[in-house]
């Protein structure tokens, strides 16, 4: 049945999971950079999630999510064999993937690593050399290291506490890479807003074009409501139809970060009430 969860993998117990979903009509069209909008129940909210992988032959898409509020918590209660009631996509402009002589550096942080994976894979399949740089606070929170090894020529891992890879931030590894390595053709960054802002700043200093994938608040995802608007180069753009990827050097990250807080009190209220009534059936 369409939208059925075929496989579920708990990547970080209680926090991040991966779903492989039977959605042939979306899988046939999904390109790196695309996202879906889903709803988990008839009274649910529409939320966007980036497509972490797609297999047109198998008719599946892969989603990776961080449990952050009511909708993702509810999504996390779905198990293999159950279906997501509403799943809509693929949405957004696909990543512009061109053949480059120099390597492409893909930087990922947190759950963004999963979305970055699909983009890195796209560059790999296009014949580009890809350097992956991924980071997390600590080893247990790292995602997709093995998957990235399959599509990257090099994977650099950083952790804040040094529990895996190099101690420090992805931006430090990126700076070093740009300073000492072969000149990069392009940088792609997906992760938390402060990380993408910092990566864009480093990229700017080295004069390397930098794409960032923005996670603004969305409602319809098809350009109708304007909730996702972001200031790019002083112009208002819609992340859902003009993006979600933009030139990191031109994005007003401060405004983006502020707009992401717009509904925070209500999101907290909704999540708190959900937790009060929900009996956890997580096996971990």
């Amino acid at each position: 049945m369409t939208n059925t969860i075929l496989r579920k993998r708990r990547l970080i117990p209680g926090q991040t999971s991966e779903l492989v979903i039977d959605a042939p009509h979306i899988a046939a069209k999904a390109r790196p950079g695309n996202f879906v909008i889903l709803r988990v129940c008839p009274t649910g909210e529409r939320i966007p999630l980036t497509i972490a992988d797609a297999d047109a032959d198998a008719g599946t898409i892969t989603l990776v999510y961080l449990v952050l509020g009511k909708t993702t918590a509810h999504l996390d209660t779905l198990e293999e064999g159950e279906a997501i009631p509403d799943l809509c996509g693929p949405l957004g402009q696909p990543t512009r993937i061109r053949r480059h002589d120099g390597p492409v550096v893909c930087v990922g942080g947190g759950t963004g690593i999963a979305a970055m994976h699909h983009i890195a894979k796209g560059h790999h399949l296009a014949g580009n050399r890809v350097t992956g740089i991924i980071g997390a606070r600590t080893e247990a929170l790292l995602l997709f290291e093995a998957e990235l090894a399959g599509v990257c020529d090099t994977v650099v891992v950083t952790t804040d506490d040094g529990s895996r890879g190099r101690r420090g931030l992805v931006t430090q590894a990126l700076e070093e890479r740009l300073r000492d390595g072969e000149p990069a053709a392009e940088i792609v960054a997906v992760g938390p807003v402060p990380m993408m802002a910092a990566v864009s700043e480093v990229a700017g200093r080295f004069g390397v074009p930098c794409l960032v994938s923005l996670n603004s608040i969305m409602l319809d995802g098809i350009g109708m409501c304007g909730a996702c608007r972001v200031a790019v180069g002083g112009e208002t753009r819609f992340a859902c139809v003009d993006g979600p990827e933009f030139d990191g050097g031109l994005v007003d990250f401060k405004e983006l970060a502020q707009r992401l807080t717009a509904f925070r009190p209500m999101e907290q209220q909704s999540y708190a009430e959900y937790q009060k009534h929900h009996v956890c059936r997580c096996a971990n």
Partner: protein, 476 residues
């Protein structure tokens, strides 16, 4: 008719039957319908006022050409079932039209009675008929058979978008046995009827019943399918659909292009109404979609959408709601009845002011808007007085929520992914006005994606024209 003349005159003088309404003080605290609908005796009394003109001007004033005297006569004869069948011959969404059509500028404006007295309340009667006989056995009314036709399985038509234009195409074709599949991007069919028009003017249950009536006729709805993304027009033709109808609306919101527009608390009308209507944010937290709770709300624009947003804000508990408009109340494009309802509900009309800039606090939240005082100048080409700035006269309005309701543009998503589809310079799809056909054979379009933002009924008119052409070809 001569013999009936004296009675006619007496009937005509009878006052128009008022519509029962929820009292303003009560309704402003709930999302239930404002207008409650006629009771049977009221409908009979109102139907009796109709003169049954031989050359009815009202029919010509209806974009879908409902046999208005015919249905009113059936109603006056005490046969709402027949009245419903008459309406359904040309209108697939009577319960919707009876609520949201601008009857006062269409059928009722040209009603002969209106010249000396008050016009027949045609819209209210249509609503009464539709509500009395709501479509659960629509197939019987349309086909005369209790079981629905199996459908001409090899003759299928695809509609993109499930708003009024597509629903009309679907309802009309399905009634003739043609199979219709409707592809809708959102999770619920209805388009603007479910995301845009508030519950207090058009309950979603009413839209749901109209959609159920179409399902009963064999129409299939595929929700969460984005035309131009999940499926494209060329693919639909390749899959064997004999015709494709594009009814995707004109969704892209227009903003004011003034400083501070991305502050938290500044919404497009589309976002605000979609959160509250489609997402049922008025029922938060039982429903998950949140909306920003405005206390001092300012709405820009003066059409029906602006009024819907303002009245919604009042119902969500705002202390003050002001509609800021650069002209005067006389120029407001919204329906008079809705302006009247809004004023009753305490909505302020802050006329002759235009927005200059929004100001926010350190957290990026809206705190005020700076306005330019305006005056009316000489009429321009459109015949409306041109608003002119009063030099040096400004004011500052405190506000924590602003809704921008100044119109929409064509959503480029579908035209962009339909190679060769002709559009005009504003991005709207161009069609043959008689047939609704685009420059691509067997691909039709209608509604806001052709005309720009207009009314539900004009979209339905376009749907009817396209359906007539499609049926003519497929059933020939």
């Amino acid at each position: 008719m001569c013999a009936a003349a004296p009675t006619d005159r007496k009937r005509a003088k009878a006052p128009r039957t008022p519509m029962p309404e929820q009292p303003a003080g009560e309704r402003v605290a709930n999302f239930r319908e404002v207008a409650l609908g006629y009771a049977p005796d009221m409908a009979l009394a109102e139907a009796a006022r109709c003169l049954r003109c031989k050359k009815p001007a009202c029919v010509a004033g209806c974009p879908v050409g409902i046999d208005i005297p015919g249905f009113i006569a059936a109603l006056a004869d005490g046969d709402p079932r027949r009245a419903y069948a008459v309406i359904r011959q040309t209108n697939s969404l009577p319960a919707v039209c009876g609520r949201v059509c601008p009857q006062e500028t269409q059928c009722e404006q040209v009603c002969v009675l209106g010249k000396k007295h008050e016009p027949v309340a045609i819209g209210r009667l249509e609503r009464f008929v539709a509500d009395t006989f709501l479509a659960d056995d629509a197939c019987e009314e349309l086909t005369g058979a209790p079981a629905c036709p199996a459908g001409l399985e090899d003759v299928r038509v695809a509609c993109i978008g499930a708003g009024p234009a597509s629903l009309t195409v679907a309802g009309t074709l399905a009634g003739q046995g043609i199979g219709v599949d409707v592809y809708e991007a959102l999770h619920e069919p209805g388009g603007v009827l479910v995301y845009g028009i508030p519950e207090f003017r058009l309950p979603k249950a009413v839209v749901g019943r109209e959609v159920a009536a179409m399902r009963a006729l064999g129409v299939r709805f595929f929700t969460n399918w984005v035309g131009g993304r999940t499926v494209t027009v060329p693919e639909l033709l390749e899959r064997g659909y004999r015709a494709v109808f594009i009814g995707v609306g004109a969704g892209l919101p227009t903003f004011l292009n003034i400083p501070g527009e991305n502050l938290i608390g500044v919404f497009s009308a589309n976002e605000y109404l979609t959160r509250v209507n489609l997402g049922r944010a008025y029922a938060f937290p039982d429903w998950d979609t949140p909306v920003y709770p405005g206390r001092q709300v300012v709405v820009f624009g003066a059409g029906n959408v602006a009024l819907d947003a303002a009245r919604t804000a009042a119902r969500l508990g705002a202390e003050r709601v002001a509609i800021v408009y650069r002209r005067t109340e006389n120029e407001m494009p919204a329906r008079r009845e809705e302006i009247h309802h809004a004023k009753e509900e305490g909505i302020e009309l802050f006329c002759l002011h235009a927005p200059l800039a929004f100001a926010g606090d350190a957290n990026g939240r809206l705190v005020s808007v700076r306005l330019q005082k305006m005056r009316l100048g000489a009429p321009d080409d459109s015949g409306r007085c041109r608003p002119l700035a009063c030099e040096g006269e400004f004011c500052e309005l405190a506000t924590d929520m602003a809704v921008v309701a100044v119109g929409t543009r064509a959503n480029p998503l579908l035209p962009r992914t339909t190679p060769g589809l002709a559009t005009n310079r504003w991005g709207y799809v161009t069609v043959d006005e008689e047939t609704g056909e685009t420059n691509i054979p067997n691909v039709f379009a209608g509604g806001d994606i052709v005309t720009g933002a207009a009314t539900v009924i004009s979209a339905m008119g376009a749907g009817r024209r396209a359906a007539a052409t499609i049926a003519g070809r497929l059933l020939a």
